[in-house]
């Protein structure tokens, strides 16, 4: 790649150069002309090769065509690893001198690749960017001083540099890139992968990457909501291929962070207990309609120390339809099969959700997202098990379904969010979620949030929001339920900075 770029770098200048006087190509290049020494020096240093030994060493001077031929052959095999800046300058000078002859020989000096300057900048160029957010939270004492909103431990105020990240990207060549993300949480590289193109246009990813197929297709309200099943980090391989309107992705991975759920039934030995084989077939049938299928097969290794080693199979079908550019109806249906559960436990849980998305272009003063979901209470959300957020949680804590427990009921959840973009700087939002967890003696949970945000500059955003969650009364901590009661609220001021 560097060789190719070096060639382009050389010819680039020629195309910008003023057209040289077209000399007779059969004229001799006079003895002592600097071109002879230039080519000889470059060859001696191994920068160029492919010009015959003995050329220009005879008594007869060469014609311009002959020298141009040598330069053309030399350009084809420039070794950029060995070329210094002076060598490249010399090559550029040679090309400029013999531009017309090279043109006649078919060396495309006229077809300038205008990206040369940018490529030169990017050769060996690492790209860095990053971000952090700073949260100040003042929580109520409503939940028996647990104050999960303020990080627990009985405190009701928390100042927290909750997320800081540095991203690193490097283009290895036209088809390959490396991406890494250093995360302040545990100071770990939570993204670390290369992407390249294999034969037959297969896109290959290897390393640590994120799987969020629901998010890829807009199947949850972005930002602080999350996928119902997906959005977790894996170590493995991904193969992706496109055929016309269809595209397919295959993932083979481990280290799913399949941890412990609230019930404790899925205790695993760290995170290396299961292989994941996942397949997604997606069709963009036209600009209005899209749909596809997903399959996740999680096969357990041999159990170690009472950890859960059963197999979990999850299948999904989804669709999206745009009635107009501002009105979208979409949904997803999951079926799951969980091995090795206790007798009487629903081991084939299902989950489905349907969403109506109305953009602000339609209603003018607000956008509207209305979502309804039915979830069997034994449905395993890998996202939640991996220590991530619940699908509807706010402020990053998994509390909305805290009283659901582990039982054969079916939760019904309604979620509504309205976003208002007043201008480029100011926006606001309201969200409401309600869950009927279908567990005996358990009250519905209701949560609402209101907030206002200011995009101070493209790099700095401030948000002030108030959230309240009402667990109802009479809830008991049993069967996996945390038994929360009453209300808890938080005022959060967030500062987000990117660079």
């Amino acid at each position: 790649m560097k060789k190719f770029l070096a060639v382009l770098a050389v010819v680039a200048l020629v195309a910008f150069a003023a057209p040289a006087f077209a000399a007779n190509p059969f004229m001799d290049v006079p003895a002592g002309h600097w071109a002879y020494d230039a080519v000889a020096q470059l060859a001696a240093r191994g920068v160029v090769s492919g010009y015959p030994d003995g050329a220009f060493k005879g008594a007869q001077p060469a014609t311009r065509y002959e020298v141009a031929s040598v330069v053309a052959r030399a350009l084809a095999k420039v070794d950029a690893e060995k070329a210094s800046k002076q060598d490249l300058e010399m090559l550029k000078k040679l090309v400029m001198e013999f531009k017309d002859e090279l043109d006649a020989l078919g060396v495309k000096v006229d077809k300038l690749d205008k990206r040369v300057a940018v490529l030169e900048e990017n050769i060996g160029g690492w790209k860095f960017n990053g971000e952090f957010r700073f949260d100040a939270k003042w929580a109520s004492n409503g939940d028996n001083f647990n104050n999960d909103y303020a990080g627990g431990e009985g405190r009701d105020v928390q100042f927290n540099n909750s997320r800081a990240r540095i991203h690193v990207t490097k283009f290895i060549d036209d088809n390959s890139l490396f991406f890494g993300r250093l995360n302040s949480l545990g100071a770990t590289w939570d993204r670390f992968y290369i992407q390249t193109k294999l034969p037959y246009d297969v896109k290959f990813t290897a390393g640590r990457f994120n799987m969020d197929w629901e998010g890829d297709y807009g199947l949850y309200n972005g930002g602080e909501n999350d996928g119902t099943f997906t959005d977790f980090t894996v170590d493995g391989f991904q193969f992706a291929k496109q055929w016309g309107v269809m595209n397919a992705r295959l993932v083979v991975a481990r280290n799913l962070e399949l941890g412990t759920d609230d019930e404790g039934s899925f205790q695993t030995n760290s995170d290396e207990s299961h292989m994941l084989y996942a397949l997604n077939l997606h069709g963009d049938f036209n600009e209005k309609f899209r749909g596809g299928l997903m399959a996740y097969l999680m096969n357990g290794d041999a159990a170690i120390n009472d950890e859960y080693a059963g197999d979990i199979q999850t299948y999904a079908g989804y669709f999206g339809f745009d009635f107009t550019p501002a009105v979208t109806l979409q949904g997803i249906y999951y079926m799951q099969k969980i091995d090795d559960l206790a007798a009487g436990t629903e081991d084939s849980p299902n989950l489905w959700k349907v969403q109506l998305n109305l953009k602000q272009d339609l209603l003018k003063f607000t956008s509207l997202w209305i979502e309804y979901s039915q979830e069997d209470n034994t449905f395993l959300s890998l996202n939640q098990l991996a220590g991530g957020c619940g699908a509807y949680d706010w402020s990053g804590n998994t509390f909305f379904l805290a009283n659901r427990g582990w039982n054969n009921g079916t939760s019904k959840i309604l979620f509504v969010r309205a976003d208002q973009k007043w201008n480029d700087k100011w926006s606001s939002f309201l969200r409401y979620a309600q869950a009927d967890v279908d567990a005996v003696g358990t009250d519905d949970t209701k949560m609402w949030t209101v907030g206002i945000a200011m995009q101070y500059t493209p790099a700095i955003n401030f948000q002030l929001a108030y959230d309240q969650i009402d667990y109802g009364t009479g809830n008991v901590a049993t069967g996996g339920s945390l038994g929360r009661n009453g209300t808890e609220s938080v005022v959060r001021f967030r500062t987000y900075v990117s660079f």
Binding site: E131, V327, A459, S498
Partner: protein, 249 residues
């Protein structure tokens, strides 16, 4: 069940509202050819990417919309149409306008022609040209045109002939906010016919323009051939002189 019924009723009612009763006809057409995707990260970043496909329907609607806004005469509208179509190079190129609104980590898009492609059937096409400002890092807004060749370089055939839809594909590498997601925009182009635009006064102006360029090229070719002929004549004179000298010896 009751909740589901309420949900369905509310959704249906809102769907009726979805028919824009007072939206301008032109705005409807324009919005159909502009697709937008918004991405938000849990950290607080947001990125909005939009793509506008310059189909004939869009261009006509856009021109008429501008004419209405600015109260142009017919001649002024034709002038604007001519200049607009000249910039778009629709006879040779497929232009797409890309806009980023980046309120997140700095985007490094260069080289941008490695970041964006046009997918038609099983073929992927890289840009022939694009706004070079995309190659520079930025936060905030950035917008520009990207051109794809309308005719296949190897076969010379129209790549959109018989095609129902095309896909604009942007790589995840453009922003960490995407976190591995590629961006795709689908446009249904089966009924798009840019040749309809080149009718009336604009057609005459474009033909004049083309013929002037052709005349210019022919004159340059003539000058070049005359120069070559002169070179050959000079060489003949030189050779003849030398032959004469040798004959005298």
């Amino acid at each position: 069940m009751k909740r589901l019924s309420v949900f369905i009723v509310v959704s249906l009612l809102l769907s009726f509202i979805a028919v824009p009763s007072n939206a301008a006809v032109f705005d409807k057409v324009i919005s159909r050819w502009t697709k937008e995707r918004r991405f938000e990260s849990r950290e607080g970043a947001n990125l909005t990417v939009s793509a506008t496909y310059y189909g004939a329907e869009y261009i006509e609607a856009y021109i008429q919309s501008e004419a209405q806004k600015n109260l142009w005469t017919e001649n002024e509208t034709e002038d604007f149409k001519f200049n607009f179509l000249s910039a778009l190079q629709l006879d040779e190129m497929i232009p797409v306008n890309i806009k980023f609104v980046n309120n997140g980590p700095t985007m490094h898009l260069g080289p941008f022609d490695a970041m964006i492609s046009l997918v038609v059937g099983n073929q992927t096409y890289m840009p022939a040209d694009y706004d070079r400002r995309f190659n520079f890092s930025f936060q905030g807004d950035k917008e520009g045109l990207v051109y794809f060749r309308r005719f296949d370089e190897k076969t010379g055939k129209d790549i959109l002939k018989g095609v129902r839809s095309v896909k604009i594909f942007i790589r995840t590498a453009v922003s960490p906010v995407l976190d591995g997601k590629d961006i795709t925009f689908i446009f249904d182009v089966a009924n798009d016919d840019p040749t309809k635009l080149y009718q009336g006064k604009s057609a005459a102006r474009f033909e004049t323009d083309r013929l002037l360029k052709r005349l210019d090229k022919l004159r340059k070719d003539k000058a070049e051939h005359e120069k070559q002929l002169q070179g050959i004549n000079d060489e003949i004179v030189t050779v003849q002189k030398r032959l004469d000298e040798l004959a005298k010896q």
